[in-house]
């Protein structure tokens, strides 16, 4: 069922590449007040900061008896102490203290995962640390730009991360799932254009001369208080490997050039989404809504955050139910519609990465066997 045909991608793939950056938490969640425990791609991690402020991610299990280090305490400038027998580790994961002996077993260490702080998030690389490259972190620059304002939240979603990616790559569902806020019938009446390269997939949808749905009418009136009439609406969904989707969304007064480059008569937002697989059936979904107008208004920041939170609650309910249905119907495949083109390109890029890692691991395993 998960065999990858030469041309295609299986719809039900749920695997994730390990040699990739995933968000482990918001910047403020990783601190020196307490050690944060998060599982990313099946790897339990203990996250904290050093005295110098650098984020650290260690395997959340002591080398000795696997007690969770996240239950322990911070020691020294950059270390942690196991709560059970007091072993201490530095930020490279090397044991620096063992009880009742003068020396330290040089084999005693826990994994220290590559970590980078960027775009208000703490990114970790669960795979081979020697392959980690900070240049591969997705572009989410709006998160830390003077030209954009906004905020977001985290959804602890009881569904495979791929289902969240599917959801975001096809916004036709807004018409049915989010009818009271951003849905409208023109969504399914308009065409989409899908492009891709090795690491990105882009889905573009333009809707001309339509009524603004309630969410967008409110935004227009935040910027243009007397606004009445029709709008042109755009949705440009950009996926970046392995699980980040930034959606350029907005509306402009109809016929003022909003779809051809002049957005001065409109409002523009960016829905920033990055999804970290926890395990096969759970994901942490980090999102923010950023805007480039009325930057001074904290009221608008809060209203947009809460508004989008309400919309995404509708998605979460659906994703949870969908995951349960997948578990309950193990013999059933997914079938695809024309609207799934973006999501299917995403699956194909991810599956290629997963297959490449499996090939490497298989060769490695052969070697280990031979070494026996």
């Amino acid at each position: 069922m998960t065999d990858l045909s030469p041309s295609g991608a299986t719809a039900k793939n749920m695997a994730y590449p390990l040699n990739a950056w995933y968000v482990a938490g918001w910047d403020h969640e990783v601190n020196r007040k307490k050690i944060l425990s998060r599982k990313i791609a099946d790897r339990p991690m203990a996250l904290y900061r050093t005295e110098e402020g650098r984020p650290v991610a260690l395997t959340d299990a002591c080398w000795h008896r696997l007690a969770p280090l996240s239950m322990g305490s911070l020691v020294g400038p950059d270390g942690v102490q196991c709560p059970y027998h007091g072993l201490q580790y530095n930020s490279a994961g090397r044991c620096t203290f063992m009880p009742a002996q003068k020396t330290i077993n040089p084999s005693a260490m826990v994994n220290s995962f590559p970590v980078v702080e960027r775009h208000r998030f703490i990114w970790v690389w669960p795979g081979d640390p020697m392959l980690a490259d900070a240049a591969l972190i997705p572009d989410m620059h709006q998160m830390g730009s003077d030209e954009w304002a906004g905020d977001g939240k985290t959804i602890d979603v009881r569904a495979n991360y791929q289902l969240v990616l599917d959801n975001l790559m096809d916004l036709t569902h807004e018409e049915f799932l989010h009818s009271s806020s951003i849905g409208q019938k023109e969504l399914s009446e308009s065409d989409i254009e899908v492009t891709h390269d090795d690491r990105t997939v882009t889905v573009t949808r333009f809707m001309e001369n339509i009524d603004a749905p309630p969410f967008w009418l409110k935004n227009m009136r935040d910027k243009f208080p007397d606004f009445e009439g029709k709008v042109d609406r755009w949705q440009i969904i950009e996926f970046q490997m392995p699980s980040t989707i930034c959606i350029d969304v907005g509306v402009a007064k109809a016929g003022t050039g909003g779809l051809t480059g002049d957005r001065s008569q409109g409002v523009n937002g960016y829905v920033m989404n990055t999804i970290s697989p926890v395990d096969q059936a759970n994901a942490m979904y980090y999102w923010a809504f950023m805007r480039n107008y009325r930057l001074e208004s904290q009221r608008i920041t809060t209203e947009l955050r809460d508004g989008v939170h309400g919309v995404f609650a509708e998605d979460e309910e659906m994703l949870t139910a969908q995951q349960q249905a997948i578990v309950d119907n193990p013999d059933h495949e997914f079938y695809n519609l024309n609207i799934d083109a973006g999501g299917m390109w995403v699956r194909r890029l991810i599956q290629r990465a997963v297959e490449a890692e499996r090939t490497m691991l298989a060769s490695d395993a052969d070697l280990s066997d031979a070494k026996g």
Binding site: N90, A92, R94, K102, N105, A135, A370
Partner: protein, 335 residues
């Protein structure tokens, strides 16, 4: 990714050879099976049926399709480096898959990488990983003269101001104490180079009382102070005794005669196999890393998985004598 420490031989073909510096050849090899490597790894090359040499891997393809090694032509070569410098594309040879005795760990607050001469071959890829991760690192490269120092252009290009050169014939000799004066307790220090340079760093490191686990260099195991010799093993309060041969450990001898001992790692690290030495005729050759130097000097306990006993007569190259008359004895005290 997961290269081990055990030998797995395979055939490889030479893809290219070029001069990376005076007397240093850069040789690219492709194995019949993928050669997955990582910074700090080396491969063993069979030069002749009874001659094997180790060379650091400079870099390798992510898919394992090739590895690049650096080989310095030694003026005192007994054949190894001369053989390697004569290789031509298409030549076949026998190599191991990459072996890792010198792994780099990510996550330390600061790094110092010190390469002396051809030691840059092991350090080069470590520096590259740290750069990609945005780590705080300094790369120090010591050499006799610029033409003798490999990869200078690419090192400059990749590491810019993080690279510091120390070139002997330009009168710029590395001040080891000065360098270690800037190293703090959280810095990981990786070095590869001439023994004299590494000894100077080790001494200055101990003098500064910096944490020993943070000083990293390639080790080939603690082989002890004495050549292994046979000795007599007795158990206190037991009639059982045996002779431990040079190629057998005390633990193996105990197992052979049916004495049950606790152990785990069998490489002198964990300390589970420690037993009291009740009586000793000879000296204990401690080969573990569990006891501190002070503990080792008392000769009251030993790790039976690796440590041995040597007769004093056999120390420091004493002449061969009748082995029975000089044979050491050890009596172990099991509680």
């Amino acid at each position: 990714m997961s290269q081990g420490t055990q030998l797995h031989w395979q055939r490889a073909v030479v893809k290219s050879r070029r001069a990376a510096a005076d007397e240093i050849a850069e040789i690219v090899l492709a194995g019949e099976r993928p050669l997955f490597t990582e910074p700090g790894a080396h491969i063993d090359v069979r030069i002749a049926p009874d001659m094997v040499r180790s060379y650091s891997v400079v870099e390798g393809a992510v898919d394992g399709s090739w590895v690049k090694i650096g080989v310095r032509r030694s003026p005192t070569s007994r054949g190894g480096s001369r053989f390697m410098h004569a290789l031509e594309p298409g030549d076949h040879l026998e190599v191991t898959s990459p072996l890792q005795n010198f792994p780099l760990r990510v996550g330390a607050p600061r790094y110092v990488l010190l390469a002396g001469g051809v030691g840059i071959t092991a350090i080069h890829s470590m520096a590259r990983v740290l750069k990609r991760l945005g780590a705080d690192y300094q790369l120090i490269f010591v050499g006799r003269s610029r033409p003798a120092m490999a990869f200078l252009d690419e090192l400059h290009r990749e590491h810019g101001p993080r690279l510091r050169l120390s070139v002997d014939d330009e009168g710029d000799v590395l001040d080891v104490k000065g360098l270690l004066g800037q190293v703090d307790h959280s810095t990981e220090f990786y070095m590869c180079g001439p023994i004299r340079l590494m000894d100077a760093v080790r001494r200055a490191w101990i003098e500064r009382e910096l944490p020993m686990p943070n000083l990293r260099y390639e080790t080939f195991g603690n082989s002890g102070w004495f050549d292994p010799e046979e000795f007599e093993l007795r158990i206190r309060g037991s009639e059982r005794h045996t002779v431990v041969s040079p190629d057998e450990s005390i633990l193996e001898a105990l197992e052979r005669v049916g004495v049950e001992a606790m152990y785990d790692c069998r490489k002198g690290e964990c300390g589970l196999c420690v037993v009291k030495a009740e009586q000793l005729n000879g000296v204990i050759d401690h080969r573990d890393v569990f006891f501190s130097e002070a503990e080792k000097s008392t000769d009251t306990k030993l790790c039976v998985c690796v440590s041995r006993v040597a007769s004093c007569a056999n120390s420091a190259g004493a002449g061969a004598e009748d082995s029975a008359s000089t044979r050491a004895t050890l009596t172990l005290d099991f509680p």
